[in-house]
Symmetry: none
Subunit: 225 residues, 2 copies
DNA sequence: TTTAATTTTTAGGTTTGTCTAAAAAAATTA
DNA sequence: TAATTTTTTTAGACAAACCTAAAAATTAAA
């Protein structure tokens, strides 16, 4: 397997972060913002990454990682988080000063190094920021973390665990659509213009939720669909 | 202080090695050989490094490091040797497999990181190859009474203390014949025609070493036999 | 639905670090 | 010392990764 440039690795990593946290297809502009470069540079690079089989890219439609691209991105994230753990646990760095150094260390290319480090650190599951460390095979154990529904990306399956607003009307509305505690729902689409979202309830009903509503529903992430 | 590119750092490091070990003024060609590139590329870069004040360079006459260039080179070597020590002492790498990884790690830019690592390793004075580790201020403690094996007379018993060449092939060769650090060996005979020598390892095996190899093994004199 | 605004792409440059081929200088040899 | 060989430099190109400015596509608004 040929090795990627640091720049290419950073692109894959950011596409991964954006597509799990924010958008299903990652737009040129949002990548440009994350990578501190211009949209035209992003377009250039996306075309190259698509040629090499790391991303799917359609002009004007944004991109997402291929299986290959995703597995590479995950390994970079694994390295990043293991190094952060090393810096904090062994070298007594503060957890806020590790990021910049880990950004460099994550590009060191040696499988033996990273596996030895993992062993040396006793196979930690989470980094100093609480983020999960992917294992050698790229499996990521997501912590049972509670999110606002509005933060969840499309095509995610989540479980309702709480509703923070004490509005009787809201609770009734949710009840009517089968959105009660412990029920599952699927995020279908997010509309950036008003930050509303379309979801499918456990019953199969499709429902539109406004920003206000989606902010007040707390969910546990279950899976990507 | 602006940071140098990895390429620039590698140039300074090689100029340092060549000018302390081989030639006073480093020639374009010898740099080209060490850096695996063409003489014309070296010329280009030397002109840039001279402009930036890292080397003194006179056309057709070769180059040497300025005080600034040398202090940078020494810090890179410090990082390289500290990382090698980390890999061997903490991650249980073999001393012959550390070089390639340390070549990458030596370019990580963080003063805090390298000083913390130094502390974590307990301020080691020598790396796994027996080479001295420069301290924070760039001071290098050269070991006394250490000779190149090639300088030692027949019928001497010596102890291997360092291997100066970072050649994986050489390190493997030595490892295979039981010539590791702290092992003893006996010089049996020297052949003037090609400056090779015959030695007996600690295991009792008789081995012929070329001039090139014998130059790169550093030993401590123990006794006449 | 037509216009206006925004996003994205294309076209053409720049810098870094490399290369090959040819020219120039230095060193060696006869 | 003149001729030859070796070393080094110059000149011109190329790929990676970026940029600006302008064009094209998409999205939003009137």
């Amino acid at each position: 397997m040929k090795t990627l440039s640091q720049t290419e690795e950073n692109y894959l990593k950011e596409i991964f972060h954006l597509s799990t946290a924010v958008e299903d297809r990652v737009s040129t502009n949002s990548l440009a913002a994350r990578l501190n470069s211009k949209a035209s540079s992003i377009t250039d690079m996306l075309q190259k990454l698509a040629d090499k089989g790391f991303v799917e890219y359609v002009k004007y439609k944004g991109c997402f990682l291929t299986e290959l691209g995703e597995s590479i991105a995950i390994q970079i994230i694994r390295k990043h988080r293991l190094w952060e753990t090393f810096l904090v646990n062994k070298l007594n760095f503060g957890w806020e000063e590790v990021h910049a150094v880990a950004e460099q260390l994550e590009h060191i290319d040696s499988l033996k190094l990273i596996d030895s480090l993992d062993h040396f650190l006793n196979y930690p599951k989470f980094d100093p920021h609480g983020d999960p460390i992917p294992d050698k095979n790229g499996n990521i154990v997501y912590r049972e973390s509670i999110l606002q529904l509005i933060e969840v990306a499309p095509n995610s399956l989540v479980e309702v665990v709480a509703v923070s607003e004490d509005s009787l009307a809201l609770l009734k509305f949710l009840e009517q659509h089968g959105l009660r505690l412990e029920s599952e729902l699927e995020i279908l689409e997010k509309y950036p213009f008003d930050e509303s979202m379309r979801i499918r309830s456990a019953k199969g009903e499709e429902i539109n939720l406004s920003k206000k509503v989606a902010e007040n529903i707390r969910v546990k992430f279950l899976a990507k669909i």
